[in-house]
Assembly symmetry: C2
Homo-oligomer: 436 residues x 2
C-alpha cells in the first residue's frame, strides 16, 4: 500500500467524541419526547431509486440530489436521499397495512450536492430528525407536531425561539387575490420568503423581469409591506376566495388547539410571509427560528403534504410532519454558549504498574465494571505520570493505583484527579466509596 | 406530479417500528457495554474520496465499493464507505492530537455493491457497530475487545457462541513452514478450513491442480493430519520461524489475559484455520460464530491492523478493533426465537369523543404526559369502536375515555384493553393508578 493523503470529503465532517456525546444526548431528548407522544421509530435506506426522489421537491432541490454511478440513464438509476419525507411517503405507499394514524420518527443523515458553507451550518451531509403523522386531516395532528417542537427546544434550553405558522392555502388564496393563477404560488412564495433578506424593490424588479404586471406587483406590495398581517387581516383579505377561506379556517382551528396546549403564547405566531421552499406542501407549514439571532437560520421546518403519498400509492393519504435539524440545533447551542464541555463517561482509570501486575489490574477493572462503574484499564506499564496525564486529558475523575504494595495488602489507592488527594482502601470499600 | 411506482432499492430494507424498536434496544445494549470499557462515540461521513477507500481491503472488496457520479476519473472521485475501519484510520491520521490510546465506538451503515442474498443476511446496506483502540501494541487491548464481544452477546441472550481467535503471524509462519510464500496464505487457510467437511485427499487434489509441489502438500498433511492444531502444536511447529514465533507469543499473552477475564472457557478458542478476508490485518484476528447454527454466519469479526493508519499518516500507529454486525445479530436472534414481539412504548390512548370535547381530551393527554406517561390522543371523533381497534392494533394497553358524562363529572373512564375491564376515576386518581 502506498501512502495516501488523508482527506475528508468536502462539505462533510467527522464527529469526534466531544461533539458526538452532545449529538447522542440531543437525540436522546428527541426520542424521549417523540415517544411521549406515541411516535415510533422507522429507518429507510440511504439509497433510493432516483425516480422515487425527483419531481417532488422542485427543480432547484432536484439538482442537489447525489446520484450514484449505478445504471445511469436507466429507470434503476440510484441516488442518496435528499430528505426523509419522500422516502417515508414511499414506505407508506408500500405498506398499506400499517394502522392509521401512523406516527413515526426517523433520525438519519441526508445528502445534498450543495456548495458547502460550514460557517452558516450548510453541509453536504447532515442529520434530520423527522416526525410525521399519516392518515388524518385533523388540525390536532399539526398542533401536536408543533407542540413537540416546542417541548424539545424548551427541554434543550432554548429561550426566545419562535415557531412561525402559515398555510399554503392562504398563500394560494393570496396569489389569487393579487390576480395570478396558482402556477405562480411557488414564485410568489420564494419572493415573499426572501423579504427578510432583500428589499421589496428587488423582488419587484425580479417579478417585472418575469412579466408580472405592475398592477399585480403593487397589490402584492400593499399586502406584504403594511407590516405584520394577522390571521384576522388574512381572513378579511381572502373573503370570497374559497382556497384562502379554507386555509384561514384551518389556521383558526390549529391555533385553538395550540392555545389549549400549555405552549407559551410568545413561542408561536401566524406569519404570512412564511412559504417554505419545497413543492410538496399543501396545508399548514411551520418553521422555527431564533429572532434574536437571525444569522443562525431555521432550527426546524415542516408542514402538511396531503398529496405526496398519493403520488406513490394512488390513494388519498393526508400527512403532516416536521424535521428538526440536529446540526443547526447543535450549532445554535454552541454559538449561544448553551453547551458545557462534554464529560467523559469513564469514571475510573485502573493503572498498569508492571507486566507482572497486569492480571491484578484486570481483576480490579472487572470488579468495578461488574458493579456498573465505567472503567478503563491502562494497557501498558508505562510511567505512572503518563497514565495520570492520560486520565487528565480524557477528564477521568478517579485513578485506581494498583502497585506491588497494594496487591500485597489487598488494597487499592484511589487518586481524585480534581483534588489530587489519594486514599488507600480495601478492595471491598472502593465500590461503596465510588458510588457515593 | 405523475404517479410513480413505489420501489425500494434492491438489496436494501425499510425498518418498520417493530423491527426498529429491537434495533434501538440492541444498539443501547452495545453502547452501554462500550462505555463501560471507556470507548467513546465518533461518526464519519458516509461519503469518502474514493482513493481513501481503495487499496486497503483487497481487490475483491474494492470492486464492491459504491461510487458516486461525482468528478468521475479525477482524484476527487467519491464513494460510499465500505466499512468503518478505513474511515476511522483516516480520522486518526487527520487528528494527531487525540490522546492515545484512543478508543472509539461507531455505529453506522456501510454499503457494498454486492449481489444481495436476503435469506443469508447479505444486503447492500447494513449496520456495523465497531469498536477500535489505537496506540497500543499490548495484547491487553485485543483481550478487552474480545471480552466486550463476549459481554454483549451474553447480555443479548446468546448461548453457545464461539469466539475463534487466530493470528496472521501464525498463518504466515505456517505457510513459510510448508515452503510457500505469503501470497498463498489465503489459499492454504481456505483449504485447512474445509478439512472438517472433506478429506485431505480432496484438498491435496485441489492444491496439485494449482501447481503446489507434492513435497509442500505432504508437509501440510503432516501438520493437519493429527486433528485440531492447538496453540502448543503451533508453537512446536513454528519454532525457528521468527514471524510464527512472534505470533505464538502474542497468542500466549492474549490467552493469559482472556483466562483472567471471567469469560467462560467454552466461549473462546484458538483456531488455526481462521483467516478473515481483508488484507489489512497484521496480528490477532477473531470471529464469532454459532457452531450449532452454521447457516447463520459470523456475528462479529475483527483483528489487529498495525499498519493501516500509517498508510495515511506516515506514522507507525498500532490499532485493533472489531465489528459487530447488527443485522446478522438481529437476524440470528429472530431465527433462534430470542425476540418477543416488540411492545409499543405508548401506555395510554386518550379518545376523541366529539369536535366539542377535543380540547378536554387534549388537556387530559397533556396532564398524563407531564407525569411522564407516554400518551397518544386519537385525532378525530370517529366511532369509539374504531379508536379501540386502533389501540388493539398498536398494542396500547389502556384507553382513557372522555365523553360528555366524564367531562361533566370531572372523571375519566379507563379501559384495560387486556382484561376489557372499565373503571371511572377522578382526574387526580388516574395518574396514581396508571403508575402502579
Amino acid at each position: 500500500m502506498a501512502k495516501i493523503e488523508p482527506r475528508i470529503f468536502k462539505g462533510t465532517r467527522d464527529f469526534l467524541p466531544d461533539e458526538m456525546m452532545h449529538r447522542e444526548e440531543i437525540q436522546n431528548v428527541m426520542r424521549t419526547v417523540f415517544q411521549k407522544y406515541g411516535f415510533e421509530p422507522i429507518e429507510t435506506p440511504a439509497i433510493e431509486y432516483l425516480n422515487v426522489l425527483t419531481g417532488k421537491y422542485g427543480e432547484d432541490a432536484d439538482r442537489l440530489i447525489y446520484r450514484l454511478n449505478y445504471k445511469t440513464g436507466t429507470k434503476d438509476e440510484a441516488a442518496l436521499h435528499y430528505d426523509l419525507t419522500v422516502p417515508f411517503s414511499r414506505v407508506i405507499a408500500m405498506n398499506k397495512e400499517l394502522p392509521k394514524p401512523f406516527k413515526r420518527y426517523q433520525i438519519q443523515p441526508v445528502w445534498r450536492a450543495d456548495s458547502p458553507q460550514p460557517n452558516q451550518g450548510r453541509f453536504r451531509e447532515f442529520y434530520q430528525c423527522d416526525i410525521d403523522a399519516v392518515g388524518s386531516k385533523s388540525m390536532m395532528v399539526d398542533a401536536e407536531i408543533i407542540c413537540i417542537v416546542n417541548e424539545i427546544l424548551t427541554l434543550l434550553g432554548f429561550k426566545g425561539f419562535l415557531i412561525k405558522v402559515n398555510n399554503r392555502k392562504i398563500l394560494n388564496g393570496l396569489v389569487a387575490y393579487i390576480g395570478l393563477d396558482t402556477s405562480w404560488t411557488g414564485e410568489i412564495c420564494r419572493n415573499i420568503d426572501k423579504l427578510d433578506k432583500i428589499s421589496f424593490d428587488e423582488v419587484a424588479k425580479e417579478l417585472t423581469e418575469k412579466n408580472v404586471p405592475s398592477a399585480v406587483i403593487d397589490k402584492l406590495k400593499t399586502v406584504v409591506s403594511e407590516g405584520k398581517i394577522s390571521l384576522d387581516d388574512a381572513e378579511a383579505l381572502l373573503k370570497g376566495i374559497p382556497v384562502g377561506e379554507e386555509g384561514v379556517n384551518e389556521m383558526k382551528e390549529l391555533f385553538s388547539y395550540l392555545n389549549s396546549m400549555n405552549i407559551p403564547k410568545e413561542n408561536f405566531i401566524f406569519e404570512i410571509s412564511l412559504a417554505r421552499g419545497l413543492d410538496y406542501y399543501t396545508g399548514p407549514i411551520f418553521e422555527t427560528t431564533l429572532p434574536q439571532h437571525p444569522h443562525i437560520g431555521s432550527l426546524t421546518g415542516g408542514g402538511r403534504y396531503d398529496e405526496l403519498i398519493g403520488h406513490f400509492s394512488g390513494i388519498d393519504t393526508p400527512a403532516v410532519g416536521t424535521s428538526l435539524g440536529l446540526d443547526r440545533i447543535l450549532s445554535a447551542m454552541k454559538q449561544l454558549g448553551m453547551l458545557d464541555k462534554a464529560q467523559t463517561r469513564t469514571k475510573v482509570l485502573v493503572t498498569a504498574f508492571s507486566k507482572e501486575t497486569m492480571l491484578d489490574s484486570l481483576r480490579v477493572a472487572s470488579m468495578l465494571r461488574e458493579s456498573g462503574i465505567n472503567t478503563e484499564i491502562f494497557h501498558e506499564p508505562v510511567k505512572l505520570k503518563s497514565q495520570f496525564s492520560y486520565a487528565d486529558k480524557k477528564g477521568i475523575r478517579y485513578v485506581a493505583i494498583l502497585g506491588e504494595d497494594e496487591i500485597k495488602n489487598g488494597t487499592i489507592t484511589i487518586k481524585d484527579m480534581q483534588t489530587r488527594e489519594q486514599k488507600e482502601m480495601a478492595n471491598d470499600e472502593i465500590i461503596k466509596w465510588l458510588n457515593c
